[in-house]
Amino acid sequence: MSEESKRITQRPVPLSRIMVNEQTAKVYEDALETKKRGERIAWSTAIYVQEICETLGVPVLYPENHSAALAAKHYGEDLIQYAEGNMRYPMNICSYARINFAFADKLKDPNYEWPSPAMPLPDLLLLANNSCVQLTKWYQNLSDTLGVPAFFIDMLYNFTEEKASAYKVKYIRTQIEEAITALEAFIGRKFDWDKFSEIQKRSALNNKLFKEIIALNVHKPAPLNGFDLFNYMAPMVICRGKESTTDILLQLKKEVEENIKNNTSTYPVDQEHRVFWEGIACWPCMRHNLKTLRNLGINAVTNGYVTAWDINYEPTNLDGMAAAYNFASTNSKSTPTVARLRSDLIKKFGCKGMICHVNKSCKVMDFHVFGGRDLIQKYTGVPIVNFDGDQGDSRSYSEAQFETRIQGLAEIMKQNKEGNHA
């Protein structure tokens, strides 16, 4: 232990990280304040058309992000037990949902000592099912049990590699328009189309910056510990259309470029292997993930999850916006599409292996992992290892299994490396 701590020098927390934490805290505080004033706040799925409520000035909180935060802080276990016990939810549904159901139920008790971050109950729900169909059921249940309306934008799974046909785009675009009208009426504020297009532009800028930062990790050694990206996703999930996000990303970009210039990295030890990480983080077990990878000198330089908010469209073009949202999530794409995208990234980032999180809570992703394996291996030739886990439920994760599999992967990558040199 002491040897290890000698090797890893404690770095000061970078300014960008402090800014992220402050921004997140402010989002929750604002919502709480708004609620106290008697105004309305929303809960939203992670890839909803956030530009709408940003334009209307309605504070929006994201249960997926909130459940992840609670899970990372190990508050998940008790809430999961409450959802499965008192509320009768089966253990096989998404752990984010189980955590959220329990949290929402406990919030009804005024004496509930809520864990931080404090997320007040919503007055409305924003539902887009591009990430998965489970979200539809999750929000349907919230709407039923909390008695608040859900503003639903139904997205369509892209089962082939073709672009969505015009009639599909029209269905989604019309729903965006309907959501705007319905929210205008519900909130009682006029929708400002000029502000909307400003926010669209701001979102596009943030999106572009985030992509640029991710791309900087192609450098060798990688300037960022790839797992840092999970933490920097918060602004993209919860504040995609805000100026404060631009500030954070500019600061982060500066720091990363600085690292490149100085040949330094936030990855604390020598980077023996570069790998690609597939799937959401195992939030409650991230520390163990990191430690295991670090002990073997593995940096997961990039991952598939951070690309999920890559929503590209021309501002003011509603059709483009509809199409972009419909194609945003990994889970809305076909397996060959995902396999192709991942393979391109693996090559671009010089990854020599792939670690896939078989996440019990995220079935569509798991189908990609299973069905896409041969394709990715064919395109890239890198070794791929799967491990069992969950984004929010630590009970589905086995430390021993993770260690053994990652070690196996490291051994193969080492062999491949030596083979190439010989």
Binding site: N92, C132, V133, K137, F152, E178, K363, H368, F370, G371
Partner: protein, 379 residues
């Protein structure tokens, strides 16, 4: 006229050996199209002069499906993959799959990648049925399914034929609903297993043919004396209630099934296709009339109320939730529905349905205990 038992036996045989029906239709030179659960516009297939045949997996412990489907996904879909990968579905011209849940999303891909010899036509019905754009979208989506079907099979689907097929399906729906009613007068003959055989066999037969047999059965039942059922009565809800060994446990405990809300059974027959001029529009309109199903989004969920009504109308003692293991859609809905029913004063029992195991011991204990409990409660 055949005896009631002979008819039921025939239907049970079909349910146990659907492959025989597939061979029979292929032998007659018919094209057969596989229909995944749950809502497929089969009328399009029928109008093309083809046979739509349900594919609902089967009791199998998958050996190779695990390459594509994680163990914690729905066992129906895993069995379907297993059968697809091992050639059990050979002879199907193509399969139709409506992407109504995450496992359907995944299966639409696994099938494309793994089962190369049977093309798949995936499509999606709109969940936001309140949007004014939903209907236009679904017409276009069904039209594209129709075009793909024609391309793959070479069979022409005309509006005229479609109108005729719609009548065949509506007639079949009405017949099945009539059967469910008449069956309740003859619970001594129509056991849980027998009821299931009549319901499920519809997935493996041309619908007009099935209508004929069920009408013959109804006539046969009506000729029998009405049975005063002495045991308990339940309503089943869920995706499926299988296999027969499980249903026999109900009978062994003197429990009759007097109604169901199973996706494989009554949810198939309870919504007719409405009248109208344009058959594609009519087919589309049916989607907007579906109610009380976990797979169809409702801003005001009415499944609980529908079940409570069913309990009252049939003078039943309780609801048995047949929870398909790893079916997240049903798993989300279970706590809400169960609470609603219990609040209305009826007991619920939850049993697990899993195609990958033959083990019914836990269900046996649960059903027996449930029976003992309701016997105590309402002697």
């Amino acid at each position: 006229m055949r005896s009631v038992n002979a008819i039921i036996q025939e239907l049970d045989r079909i349910v146990s050996h659907p492959r025989v029906m597939l061979e029979k239709y292929l032998g007659k030179g018919k094209k057969v199209v596989g229909c995944f659960p749950i809502y497929i516009p089969e009328e399009l297939v029928h109008a093309g002069g083809m046979i739509p045949m349900g594919i609902w997996g089967g009791q199998v412990s998958p050996a190779i499906a695990g390459k594509y489907s994680p163990t914690f996904t729905c066992s129906i879909m895993r069995s379907c993959m297993e059968f697809g990968l091992t050639g059990k579905y050979q002879g199907l011209s193509c399969v139709l799959l409506s992407v109504l849940c995450d496992t359907f999303r995944g299966t639409s891909q696994s099938w494309r990648i793994g089962v190369k010899d049977i093309p798949i036509i995936p499509f999606i019905q709109p969940q936001n049925r309140e949007s004014k754009a939903a209907k236009e979208y679904l017409i276009a989506e069904y039209r594209s399914v129709r075009n793909r079907l024609e391309e793959i099979t070479g069979c022409k689907i005309t509006d005229h034929a479609l109108s005729k097929s719609i009548e065949v399906y509506n007639r079949h729906n009405q017949t099945m609903r009539e059967f469910a009613e008449v069956a309740n007068e003859h619970l001594d003959v129509v056991s849980a297993k027998n009821r299931h055989a009549v319901m499920k066999s519809s997935h493996f037969m041309e619908k007009a043919e099935h209508t004929g047999i069920v009408q013959e059965l109804i006539a046969g039942l009506k000729a029998l004396p009405v049975c005063e059922w002495k045991g308990k009565k339940v309503i089943l809800t869920g995706i499926t209630a299988e296999p027969n060994e499980l249903l026999d446990i109900f009978t062994a405990n003197k429990i009759a099934v007097v109604g169901d809300d199973l996706a494989q059974e009554s949810r198939q027959f309870r919504t007719d296709i409405p009248d109208g001029d344009n058959p594609m529009e009519r087919l589309t309109d049916q989607w907007f009339l579906r109610k009380g199903c976990s797979l169809v989004f409702e801003s005001h969920r009415c499944r609980g109320d529908m079940l409570i009504n069913q309990l009252k109308e049939n003078n039943a003692d309780g609801i048995v939730v047949c929870l398909m293991k790893f079916c997240d859609i049903e798993e989300y809905e279970y706590p809400i529905i169960a609470q609603q029913i219990e609040d209305a004063g009826y007991p619920t029992l939850c049993i697990e349905i899993d195609q990958s195991t033959q083990d019914n011991e836990q269900s046996r204990t649960k059903i027996q205990s449930f029976t003992e409990m309701i016997n105590d409660r309402r002697p």
